[in-house]
Symmetry: C2
C-alpha cells in the first residue's frame, strides 16, 4: 500500500485528510453558538522535531534486527486514538514512549523477541494499527520491567491462502482493513467487518479486542468470522483447529478472542469470507417519542429479523451530527441478502410495520437495491460522518473540547433506568467539571435480550486541566455502568482505561485469567496491566 500522504504522528490518519482551518473555525463557531460553549482557542501540536522522548533504557540484542529506536517510530507507537492519547499528543508529551519498536516479519521473529523479553523481563506491547481508544497499547507498565518493546505486527500483512470452496481465507494479523478488502475483492469476496477504525486497524487487533463491525445484528463482530487462529506466546505457538464448529471442551478460539495482547501475539487466522450481498433494502424512520423507538427496535430484534443496519440515533445525536432538519429520533434500517431480494423486502416490510405500531414514520418509504439514487438520505450523511468522525475528534482536542465516547450492553428490562441514570449522571458530571456539556446516544448493535447503547459526550475544558475534567466524567460513566451490572465495554476493549471496572465485573474469574496467563506467559511480560494487573 504505497501512499504519498503523511500519517499524523499524534492524531488520526493522514495529515492531509484533516479538516482545513476554515472547517475548524466553523466547528468552533458552531460549538460556541449552537452549544453555548465559552470562547475556544485553537492550539497546534508541536512539530515532531520539537517533541522530546526519554532516552531508551534498553537496547535490543543484535539478532533481533527488526527492532528500531528511531524517534518517529517510538513517538508514533506511544499512544492509541482515545481522548487522553490525543490530549497528550497535542501537548507533545511522549514520556510514555516505548524503548524499542519491533517490526517482526515472521512468527520466528516474534518467538525470538518473546524469548529474549521473557529472559530479560522486558514488557512486550502487541500493536496492530494503534487505534485503541482504551489505552490498550500504551507502554505504561509500572515498575518491575527492564524496559518496554512495542511489537508492531504490520510487516505481517499478507493474505496467504484463499479456499473458495469453504469460503475462507488465511490472513496475517498485521493486514489493515483496506488491504483485506482489496485482496479479497480480487476473488469476489469480502470479510464484511467494518469497525469505525477500519482504515487503520488490523485483523490481529480486531481479534484481540472482540471488534464490533458496522452492522447491527448477526454476523458483525470479528468473533463471528474467525474459524481458527494462531498466536505466538512466550510458552510456544498455539493454533486452533480449522473446523466450522467443535463441541470438544472450552472453545480454544476464545482463549485468543479478547485476550488483548495479554497472552501472546496473534499472527494469523482463517477467516470466513463471503461475496458482496445480492440485494439490499433500507429505510429511515423518524420517531418523536424515544420510548416508541426503543420498543420498535426491541420488537425487531426479538423477531430475529436480523437487520444489517438497525442504528437508532437519539435527537441529541442526530443534532450533533447535523443529520436532520427536525428534532426527531432517527432509525436507520437496512437488510441485506446473499441470495435473492425477496427476503430483504419482506423483512424490511415487517420491520417498518413494527415501527409504525410504535409511532415511527417513514416519509421517504423503503429503498430497494443499491444506492443508485442521487438523493442523499440522512443515512448517507450519517455514513460519511461516521467515517470522518475520528478526524474531527482531533480538532475538538485542538479546540480544548473534551470529546469522548463510552459504550456498553444491557438487557431491555434494565435499559430505561440505566439510560436515565447515564443522562442525568453524565450531565451533572459535565456541569460540575466543565460548567456545561452535551451527551447523546445511539444504538450500535441490538440483540433479542438488549441493546448496545453508545454515548458521546463533549464539554469545554480548561486548557491544562482537560484530563482531570475528562477523568471525572469518565469515572462517573464507568461507575454508573458498573452499578447497573452492565459491561464496561461492548466492543472497545478493556485496555488500561477500563481495567478497574473489568476487575469488578470479572471478579469471579480473575483467578482463572491469572492461571491462563501463567500458563502462556509465565514471566508476565505480555501487555502488563491489561486484563490481569500485576503492575505496581
Amino acid at each position: 500500500v504505497s501512499d504519498d500522504r503523511t500519517r499524523s504522528y499524534w492524531g488520526w490518519g493522514y495529515v492531509e485528510e484533516h479538516p482545513d482551518e476554515d472547517e475548524v473555525q466553523a466547528l468552533r463557531e458552531r460549538l460556541e453558538t449552537e452549544f453555548g460553549f465559552p470562547e475556544l482557542d485553537l492550539v497546534d501540536a508541536p512539530d515532531l522535531a520539537d517533541v522530546e522522548v526519554p532516552d531508551p533504557e534498553i537496547e535490543a540484542p543484535a539478532h533481533l534486527d527488526f527492532c528500531t529506536q528511531e524517534k518517529r517510530s517510538r513517538v508514533h507507537h506511544t499512544y492509541g486514538d482515545g481522548y487522553r492519547d490525543k490530549v497528550l499528543g497535542v501537548r507533545g508529551d511522549f514520556d510514555a514512549a516505548p524503548d524499542i519498536v519491533a517490526r517482526p516479519e515472521s512468527e520466528d521473529d516474534v518467538a525470538d523477541l518473546l524469548e529474549w523479553a521473557s529472559d530479560e523481563r522486558v514488557a512486550v506491547i502487541p500493536y496492530g494499527g494503534g487505534t485503541s481508544v482504551a489505552r490498550g497499547i500504551e507502554a505504561e507498565v509500572g515498575g518491575g520491567f527492564a524496559g518496554v518493546v512495542t511489537l508492531d505486527t504490520r510487516e505481517m500483512d499478507a493474505i496467504l491462502e484463499i479456499d473458495e470452496e469453504s469460503r475462507r481465507a488465511r490472513i496475517q494479523a498485521g493486514a489493515l482493513g483496506p488491504q483485506i478488502q482489496d485482496g479479497l475483492a480480487e476473488h469476489g469476496y469480502q470479510l464484511r467487518h467494518y469497525p469505525q477504525s477500519y482504515e487503520f486497524s488490523t485483523l490481529g487487533g480486531w481479534i484481540a479486542t472482540h471488534a464490533g463491525g458496522h452492522f447491527a445484528t448477526e454476523y458483525t463482530h470479528i468473533d463471528d468470522f474467525v474459524e481458527s487462529a494462531r498466536m505466538v506466546t512466550p510458552s510456544g505457538t498455539v493454533e486452533t483447529q480449522q473446523v466450522p464448529r467443535s463441541g470438544a471442551g472450552p472453545k480454544s478460539n476464545h482463549f485468543m478472542l479478547g485476550s488483548e495482547g495479554s497472552l501472546g501475539v496473534i499472527t494469523e487466522a482463517w477467516m470466513n469470507v463471503q461475496p458482496r450481498p445480492e440485494a439490499r433494502s433500507r429505510a429511515t424512520v423518524r420517531f418523536s417519542d424515544w420510548e416508541g423507538a426503543v420498543d420498535a427496535i426491541r420488537e425487531i430484534a426479538q423477531a430475529r429479523l436480523s437487520p444489517a443496519n438497525c442504528r437508532l440515533l437519539d435527537r441529541n445525536e442526530s443534532t450533533l451530527f447535523e443529520l436532520a432538519d427536525h428534532d426527531d429520533h432517527l432509525l436507520f434500517l437496512g437488510f441485506e441478502s446473499l441470495a435473492g431480494a425477496g427476503s430483504t423486502r419482506e423483512n424490511l416490510s415487517e420491520a417498518l410495520s413494527m415501527c409504525e405500531t410504535h409511532g415511527g414514520e417513514c416519509p421517504r418509504g423503503p429503498i430497494h437495491g443499491d444506492r443508485e439514487s442521487d438523493e442523499e438520505t440522512p443515512e448517507d450523511r450519517w455514513r460519511s460522518a461516521f467515517i470522518e468522525a475520528p478526524y474531527v475528534w482531533d480538532e475538538f482536542v485542538r479546540l480544548g473540547v473534551i470529546f469522548a465516547t463510552f459504550e456498553t450492553s444491557i438487557t431491555w428490562d434494565r435499559f430505561d433506568d440505566f439510560h436515565a441514570d447515564i443522562y442525568e449522571g453524565v450531565t451533572a458530571a459535565m456541569d460540575d467539571a466543565c460548567g456545561t456539556g452535551h451527551v447523546s446516544c445511539r444504538f450500535t448493535h441490538v440483540y433479542p435480550d438488549g441493546p448496545a447503547p453508545y454515548y458521546t459526550f463533549m464539554a469545554p475544558a480548561e486548557r491544562g486541566r482537560e484530563l482531570e475534567q475528562w477523568r471525572q466524567i469518565k469515572q462517573t460513566a464507568g461507575d454508573i455502568i458498573d452499578d447497573h451490572g452492565a459491561t464496561i465495554t461492548h466492543h472497545h476493549a478493556v485496555g488500561r482505561l477500563h481495567q478497574q471496572w473489568y476487575e469488578r465485573e470479572t471478579a469471579d474469574f480473575q483467578a482463572t485469567l491469572r492461571a491462563m496467563k501463567g500458563a502462556l506467559d509465565p514471566a508476565g511480560i505480555m501487555n502488563p496491566g491489561v486484563l490481569v494487573d500485576d503492575t505496581e
Copy 2:
C-alpha cells in the same frame, strides 16, 4: 413431573415405551434378511434384584444428608447411554457404580459437598439426565481417590424467573427438556433447543457439553441461548454478567460451556427464550447424486439462507430408517420465522432453486404453514424415528448387534476425501472385526465453511466380544477424524470416550486447560479424566 412409568435401570427412558417383543422380532428379521446379518439371539438384562454392585468404599458425613447409597440409585447413575454403557448394562456389570449418589437441593448443598470432597479427595461426577454417549458421567476415575460421588442435579429443576421484556428466563440446571418446555409455554415462550436426548437430559448437561439442537443452522446450539450462567466450583461460585454481549476480555461463559463437569457444577443460567414461530415452510428434496446434494447444501449454507432444517440423509441412512421407497439421498429443508411468512417462502424458494441446479427434485413441492395435512411426509417419518431411535438402540444391544454413532465437523474443501476415507475405513474395520456391517451418514448441522456429518454404523457382534469389536471400529473412525484434522466431536462431548483424540487436537491448549482447572478445582476432584486427564 409425576409419572407412573418405570425408568429402565440400564437403558433408555421408560420400560413401557420400549418396542414390544413383536417389534423386536421384526427388527431381527430385517437385520438378518435385509442386511445379511447372521442369526441373532436375543438376551435380556438381568432383573435389578440380581445385579450386584460393589460395596461402597466411603460414606458421606451426616451433614450431607442429601446423599444416598441405595442400590437402585447407584446402578442408575453408573453409566450413560452410549453403546458400551448399554452392553455393560445388559450384562448386569455395574462394577463401576459410584459409592454415593448425592442429590443436592441448593447451591449451598453443592458447595458443602465439594468442600468435603476436596478435603477427602473424593472424586465428584456431575450428572444431569445421564444421557452422555461419551462416557462423560462414568465413575471411572483411576486410582488416587478415596471414592466417588455422583452429583445428580435433578432436585434443582425450577424455572426461577421470567423476564418477558428481555425474553429470557432463569432456569436451574437440573430441569429436563419437557419441564423447561412446559414451564415456558405457560408464558408463551420456548427455549427452542431440541437435542435428541431432549426428554431425559438437563439444561446443565446441555451447557456443560455444547449440546447441539435439532435445527441445522443459526440458533440451535445451547451456546447460542446462554446469556449468563452460574457454576459452583471447589474454589467458590462463579457467575457471568447478565448482558447481551460483552467485549471485555475472554468470554467468561466459555469457561463453563463445554467444561463437562471438570471445573465445577453448573447450577443455573439465564437463557434467551422466544415465542413459537409464526410461519414455517418446508420441503423434501431427492438427489440421485451425492455430490450434487452436498453442493446444493453448501450453496444454501453459504448464501446464509439460515434454514431451520437442512438435514441430508444419504441413501444408506434413509434405507436404515425406512424413510423412502427409492434409493435417492434425501434432504429435508425447513424455514421458520418469528414474524410474517414472507421470508420463509422466499428463502425456501431460493433454496429449492439451488437444489434444482444440482439435480435435486421436489415432487411434493413446498409446504407452507403448519402441518395440517394428513399426508405423512418422509420428514415426519424421520422425526418419529429420530425421537424413538434411542429406544430401538437398546434392542440392537439385546440382539447382539453393535449400533453406534460418531460425528464431527470439517471444512468443505476437505469433506469429500474425509467422507470417502470414513466409508472405506469403517467398512473395512467392520468387515475385519465382525465380518460385515453397515455405515450411513447424515448432516446434522451445516455452516458456511463446512458440514457436521454424523455417521451411524451397525455390525453383528460376537456375544461377549462386543466391546472389543466395537472398540476396534471406533478407534478406526476416531483416527480417521484425527488424521483429517477434523474435530472428535461436534456436539457429543469429549467424556472419557474421546479423551485420547481430544488431547491430540488441543495439544497446544492442554497447559492452559490444566491451569484453569488448577485455579477452579485445586484438588482435582471434578470429573477426573475428562478434558484434563491426571488419572492413573
